[in-house]
């Protein structure tokens, strides 16, 4: 059987938000993938923009690499706003 390849689907639900992964669709080509994603994932006005990516083109980090990839940032507290204590008088910053 001539199988339609798998595409991962990302939807931007509102203007100003990031595209978010919602699932996948099968389609013969990219254009059909956009349409199939539209039919499947935006039946209730969920989206303003759709990305589709061939699933085979996605490179994912492996859970085995979790420590080298993500732990180093755990102790970089200076990247978070709460690290910087400021006097109350400064107000909201």
């Amino acid at each position: 059987m001539a199988d339609w390849p798998l595409f991962e689907v990302f939807i931007r639900s509102k203007h100003g938000l990031n595209h978010k992964h919602v699932g996948s669709v099968h389609a013969a080509d990219r254009r059909m993938a956009i349409e199939n994603a539209r039919e499947l994932y935006t039946r209730r006005n969920e989206g303003v923009s759709i990305w589709v990516v061939p699933a085979s083109e996605i490179t994912a980090s492996s859970p085995d690499e979790k420590e080298p990839l993500f732990d180093p940032s755990n102790d970089k507290v200076y990247r978070h706003a709460s690290f910087y204590k400021l006097p109350k008088e400064v107000g909201h910053m």
């Binding site: 059987m1 001539a2 199988d3 339609w4 798998l6 699932g23 996948s24 669709v25 099968h26 013969a28 080509d29 059909m32 499947l40 039946r43 209730r44 994912a60 492996s62 859970p63």
Partner: protein
């Protein structure tokens, strides 16, 4: 329940001490309610059981379109036609969400669908019953979707991330299905003619027991439940869910002014639960094995759709390839 009698391939539940370090880590993760994601290590039996369960669930959504499709062409008003079509379309969508979740486990959708078409894979027993009158569209929404919701709500917390997320989406969208069904029945019972009222009662008589069977065999005859519960891909026992469904459904039945085809149905003041008569499990196992009223035609309808569409799918692939060549 859309997934019934899911085989886990394990007869005995193992303790943490009996597990390999990997498996122990996996089980502890589940015990801590941390989701398992596609690339995490998982026991082969967990992966296989989930593929079986999610595909069964997906097949049920897709086969479930057929008994309703049977009345889509005969829906009696434009409003009812739109509602029913939207509901059936959601079911196709829910099937696809679930297949999509299943594919994150490395399963191939077409292969799993082949299993449905050659009888190797199961789907919910309920869809092997015929829809014989218009009220069945109401009863399916009310009883069948009602039973499915009772089952699916806890699955939003199931241990496998993609499955849980698919169920969240399904539950959110399905909330209108049951109300739509109940309203069809209520309208006919409150404002309809005697003929319409008789239609409703006839429909309830036919779907009552099959709806109770949807939750699967009693707990003592459910050998795979313990492992599925430990893996948190099943979160309540069959009997527990069946009771929950019945307790919420009987008052709705009374509000309709209809009766259940069960002389033993009664409220127990002490327990606060409804008690019901004996379920004909022989019928359930017959239907699950393929000997229900519509098993053959349901599977054949699905097989025909996909087989007759082969040339269309091939043409789309051939055209995409031509385009790519031209662009290169």
């Amino acid at each position: 329940m859309y997934a019934q009698l899911v085989e886990t391939g394990t007869s005995k539940l193992r303790t943490l001490d009996e597990m390999s370090p990997e498996e122990r880590q996996f089980q502890e993760r589940i015990n801590d309610e941390i989701k398992i994601e596609p690339k995490n290590w998982m026991p082969d039996a967990y992966r296989k059981t989930l593929i079986r369960q999610i595909s069964q669930h997906a097949h049920s959504e897709i086969v479930g379109m057929l008994p309703e499709g049977n009345w889509l062409t005969r829906a009696p008003t434009l409003k009812r036609k739109l509602q029913l079509m939207a509901k059936i379309q959601d079911e196709a969508g829910h099937g696809l969400y679930l297949y999509s979740a299943m594919e994150t486990l490395g399963a191939d959708r077409d292969e799993e669908i082949d299993k449905l078409h050659d009888g190797r894979a199961k789907y919910s027993s309920i869809f092997n019953y015929p829809t014989l009158n218009w009220a069945d569209m109401g009863t399916i929404g009310w009883l069948v979707d009602g039973a499915a919701i009772v089952n699916q709500v806890p699955l939003q917390r199931t241990s496998y991330g993609p499955y849980a997320r698919a169920m969240i989406r399904v539950c959110k969208e399905e909330s209108f299905h049951q109300r739509q069904g109940y309203q069809i029945l209520l309208t006919m019972m409150q404002e309809g003619t005697d003929d319409q009222k008789a239609m409703v009662q006839d429909s309830i008589n036919r779907f009552w027991w099959p709806a109770l069977m949807m939750f699967g065999p009693s707990d003592e005859n459910s050998p795979n439940s313990a492992q599925s519960m430990a893996w948190k891909i099943k979160r309540h026992s069959n009997d527990e869910l069946r009771q929950r469904f019945l307790d919420q459904t009987v008052p709705q039945l009374e509000l309709l002014g209809c009766t259940a085809p069960d002389q033993d149905l009664k409220y127990n003041q002490e327990t606060g639960h409804y008690e019901f008569g004996a379920i004909d499990w022989q019928e359930f196992f017959d239907v699950v094995k393929g000997n229900g009223p519509c098993n053959r035609e349901r599977v054949e309808a699905r097989r025909n759709a996909i087989d007759n569409g082969a040339w269309v799918r091939e043409a789309a692939v051939a055209h995409a390839a031509k385009r790519q060549r031209r662009a290169a």
